[in-house]
Structures are given as C-alpha cells and as structure tokens.
Amino acid sequence: MTSNPDFIFRIYGDNVLECELFIDWLKQNLFSQLKFLEEVGPIDRPILIFEDILKHKILAFHMCPFYGGTKNSIWPNNPLVGIFDEKPDVLLVQVLENDTESKPLLVVEFDDALQAGNQSWQRSKRAINSARSQIPYFYVLPIIGWERDSEGIELKSPRYQNASITFGQLSLSTFYKIPSFQIYKKTPWAAHAKKLGHTLPKGFENFQGIESAIECACYFIRKSIYGESNLIKPNKAVRNIISEMLSVGSTYCDFSETSMPIHKSHPALLDTSSASEYFSKLILDGKNDEKSHYRLDNITAEYFFKNGTTFFKDAQTKTTSLNFRENVIAKLNWKPKATRKQKEMWLDTWGVKIPSNETPDTVILKNKDKIPTTYKEKKSEAALINNRKVFRQIIEKAYPNLSQDILDWIYSNKKSDEPIFFIPLYGYKPTGDSRPDRGLLPALFSLFPRLVTKKNTFVLVYSIHTPPNWEKILNQNSNELWNVIKEFSGLLIVDKTKSGVLIK
C-alpha cells in the first residue's frame, strides 16, 4: 500500500456509478493535472490514490457510494445536513486532521437524459442550496435529447435545453459569486439533429465543457488544501463554460414555446464574449464592479416591465375551479384574440385608458408596468404586478373570507411600493404527485433573485386536487412542495379552501 497521503477526500455518490464518473474526471490528467497511482481497499469502496502534478503532493479519494437520502444516510456522516434539502449525485468533502469532514467542496450532477419540459425545474433547489453555501455546482447534461413515442420505438422530435434553467444557473453564479454551471455532454443525437436541420447552439461541436469542468473542479479541490493565493485561477476554463451556457441560452431563449423577451434582449446575450470575461472575474475574484449590466441576477422590476410581455396562464377546466378561472386568472390573462371591447374592459380593470387614436394592442405595450407582466411569451408561470391595489380587489372578490392582514399584504395605503411577484402554482396532479411543480419556485428564484423575495412573492395554489388539510402539511415541514412555498413566498392562498396564510 502507498505511504500515507497528504490529503484525503471522500466522494459521496448517489451510487457507485456516480462515484466512478467523478473518478473518471480525475483520471483525465491533461485537465486534472493529477496522476493516478493505485487503488486500495475493498473493491466496492476503494480509495484511489493520485499524485498532484502541480504541487507534488499525494491525494487520496475514498469512494463512498449510496450516501442515502437527507434522512437515512448509510454512512456515519451525513454531508447534506444543514445545506441540502435534496441529495445531489456526487458531493466531495475533505477528511480533516481530527477525522471530521469539511463542508462540501463541490457538487456534480450527472444527467444521462435531458429532462422534458417542466421536469427541468427539478434540480433548481439543489443548485440554490449549493450556491447559498458557497459550494461550486456542476450540472452535466446532454446538449440535446430526443422524444420517443410512448412505447419508445418511434422517434418523435428533438428535446431541447430549457433556456430558463441555463439563465437561472448563470444568475445564481453571479448573485452568490460561486460557480453554478451547466456542462454540456456530447451525444450522438446532436449529429442526428444537425443532419436533419434542427436548431443547435452555434459551435456546439467544439464545446469543451467537460474538460473545462474538470479543470475547475480540480482548482476548487486544490483551493481547499493549498489556499487561493498559491494557485493560478482557471479563468479560461470558467470563461469557456459561461460562454457555452450563454450560447445555449441565447439559442433556446427565442425558440418555440420558450421565447423569453427579457433575457433575449439582455446585454449579456448581446455581447457574450465580454459577458463571459466579466462573469469569470466576478465568480473567481468575488468582485468586478465595472460592467454590472451584464449580470442576469441584476434584473430589476423596471427592466422586467420594460422588456417583459403580457401574461397568460393556461388553466384546465378539469383540474381548476370555476372561481379560479373566472375571477382570478381571467382578470390577469391578456388574450390577444379577444374583441376590442373585451380588451378595453380588461385594460379598464387595470386602470389603463385607451386614447382615441390608439388601439388596445398599442396601448398595452406602453403600460406594462400597470398590468400583469411576465418573462415568457405564450404560456407562462408567473407575473410581476405593480398595480397592487387592483390586484387586491381581484383577490378580495375571488376569496371574500380572507383576513384583513392578508389583503393588506397585497395592498394597503401605508406600504406596498414594490411590485408583487405572483406565482399561480398548480401543485398537485390527480395522482397526488407534486412533481415537477415543487421545482418551480426555486427555478423562478434562480432567474430573478432580486424580485422573488419573501417580502413580495405571492403563491396561489390552484389545483382542485390540493389536500384540504394543506395548512397542517405546511406546518409539518415534511413535504417538499410546501417547504419551498414556505421558503420563497410571503403570502400563500389556496383556491381549494379559499383561504390563505401569511408566511414569516
């Protein structure tokens, strides 16, 4: 057996395969600058010994697979405690001299399949947990996927990246000044998509995210043991990753169902080279005050209203109440195909008058700060609402038994100067499953961390399948859907019971 190493790390993995994926990163010595020496210990939980080529030290990595959930870890230590609400695929800690463990040094998620539609919200909470605790987060996923028929035999259409998740991670990276990166993996589906003329990010064939991620991951490992001042920062690798994320974001933010007007006109996307440079410095140095207009996390209410679009939320008759559809969502939804009279009435509700020489469609563009405005064209999930007074009237009419303090939270003469970030949340499918909606609030917070504040976020849970005892579940803190509502919102109303609660 090799003489004792200088530094020891534990790779906690969801299972043995995830541990090995991370070891494979370390074994790519061109990028890791680590030389594999040998493997010791039991075959199912070995220690892999490496020489650090840069510092001539011996590093040991102990594979600790199946580290269990947040409650039932099979290992004596649980590195998730106090940081993570959900378990990431791979988490690295250092074993300290007194046999204790450091806080997680980095987290990697390895996804073989691109998540479909709203399923892509699901990892947002882990990204937030990491960023808040200053833990670098790497989410490895295929550049493109492919939908099949229900039997998996016939090919349907490509499955593209969800730009809002990409922007969310970029925003977290600069908001918390720590990497929250997407790393795009090569897949044979990309070549097939290209052949058929489907949309792919420019230059995707030359993407080097994995190589850059290995370099970054090893930098953060070294930083924990040698200190930042003794290392050369991986500026080029970080720039490369951000540049690829911006490329993916700009490709898919103006695309099909995911057109995002606030983001597609953002300075970061108009000059990706300068933005990558700026982000890299901000993330690695912790400061860079020169060009803060590139920061996606800096999107303000003013910017949102200026560049956003009219709100529309789809509400199915089978799963929502008539009250919700007619007295809430119909008052917030702008319907481009409505008659002029209907549009006039809708605008009048929001206090917008139409000059004689204008039409509702032109007036609305000049008054986005007076009506519900959103970040996504066609169907959307949330709206920023400045006119709190009108919004209070709408909610009060729909839910007449709400308490005064709830209504005052929405609007009162004494306060209410900032807009409400309103999230109508479906929440429960007929089966009782709350996925993927439990990921929506974290995904929205990632996108707009300065707007989705507890002070101004209002969640309305509207599925008719919502459990009537929701308040009890909320207070038990054991359900991830209600936990995220509690964490990110200040006001919760449940359509099913027509009641609500203020959340401190």
Partner: protein, 238 residues
C-alpha cells in the same frame, strides 16, 4: 493521514446497493466479461449496451419505457461472447434471500423477449453503435440495422440470476459465518427461482471487506461463460 484508518470508515449497512456495487466493480475489472447494464438503487435509467459477437460493435438502447408486471428490468446484465454466440446473464438483485420470488427467471426473460402486448428489448430498436466501447457513438440511420440483434446468424443464450446480501450481512469474525447453511440456501434458491446463478454476499472485518458464495445451474456451469464468472469472483470467495 492514515489510509488504514480511513478504510475503517465504513457504511452502517450494505444491502442491495452493496451487492450491486461489488458485482459492478468485479465485472468491470474482468477483461472477458462485459457489463451490458448496471442499475443500482438510486441510479437513473441510462442505457443497455450489448456487444455484437460478429462485428464487435457495441449497440445501445438508451430508452426503455416502463416495464409491465409480466416483465422485470434486471438490476445488472453481464455479457460474454463466444464465437458467434452471445451469452447474457440477467440478474435480479435484492437485499435479502427472502426477497426472491417464484417467477423471477420468467419475468427477467420477458424483459428481453416480451410477453403479450409488451415488446421486449430485442423487439426494440438500438439507436446507436460504437466502435470504441462507448467512447463515441454513431446514430444508426438504417432501420433494419437497429434490430441487428434479431439477426439469425448469431445465437443469443440468456441466463438469469439472483444476488442478495446474507442475513446478517456483516461478520466481525468470518469464522462465525455459517458456510454450509448458506451454501444450502444458495442451492435451494437456485431450484425455487429457476434461475441459473445465485450469489450471496457478506462483509467482514474492520474494513468491511466483501465476500461471496455462488452456485450455478448445470447449463451455465459447463459453459465458458460460467467458468469466466467463477474465475471473476474467485478473489472474493471464502
């Protein structure tokens, strides 16, 4: 820092996950066996990769829909090629021996060959092939080529197996392990489950080193595949 001490940082339990981890690691360290699939608890569906005995290409099935009750997706698939013949061992892995069930062999086989309206793996298209054991993949344009596995010029021999952790799974002193009793249990499971391979696993000592006992049906035992499996697990035998 002391490596010996670090190796004494051990899980509080091993279970099905431990069994799957050991099998995965043993197979991947063996040059003649190919791990076509590994799905330990907590893993998300990835892909099944089978090596063609004729062309030596690796073919990938990267999506299998939910499996009905009549079939069971294996936890592990081990492959051995001999001439034109493709030998596969589909393994069901469980935490304990009492988790075995009567129809195990049948439901595992149905996963490949299908049953009723359920189309098994071999009736589904492989979408990609690789010449370098999965380092890079190529999309298969030719529809007939996607169903290469049904080519009659090669023979597929499918075996089934059951693996589990002994109860108790951990022995501070290996001398306290009931070897004869466990061997009887293995053979009894082989008969009851109608599988071709049964492997029981335990862990011992301060570092929780894994150990195995295994038994084979007559059909599998006499093949080169059976021999390769036996050789693969020799280092863990007691």
């Amino acid at each position: 820092m002391n490596l010996d001490k670090i190796l004494q940082y051990v899980p509080l339990s091993h279970g099905e996950h431990g069994v799957d981890s050991v099998i995965h690691r043993v197979i991947n360290k063996n040059d003649v066996l190919h791990e076509a699939y590994c799905n330990p608890p907590g893993a998300s569906w990835s892909q099944i990769v089978i090596k063609d005995s004729l062309s030596n290409k690796y073919y990938s099935w990267d999506q299998i829909p939910r499996v009905p009750e009549c079939a069971k997706r294996p936890d592990s698939i081990i492959q051995y090629n001999d001439g034109k013949d493709i030998y596969l061992l589909a393994i069901e892995s469980k935490q304990k021996s009492s988790d075995s069930y009567k129809d195990m062999a049948k439901t595992l086989k149905n996963f490949f060959f299908g049953s009723g309206s359920y189309a098994g793996l071999f009736k589904r298209p492989a979408w990609h092939y690789s010449l370098d054991k999965g380092k890079s993949w190529t999309f298969i344009n030719n529809e007939q080529h996607r169903y290469w596995i049904n080519d009659k010029s090669q023979k597929i021999i499918l075996y089934t197996g059951f693996t589990y952790a002994f109860n108790p799974e951990y022995y501070n002193d290996l001398n306290t392990f009931g070897k004869d009793k466990s061997y009887r249990e293995l053979n009894s499971l082989l008969d009851e489950s109608h599988v071709d391979f049964v492997l029981g696993m335990g862990w011992y000592g301060r570092k929780h080193n894994p150990f195995v006992m295994h038994t084979y049906s007559d059909q599998l035992s006499k093949t080169k595949f059976g021999m390769a499996l036996k050789v693969g697990f020799v280092p863990l035998e007691i």
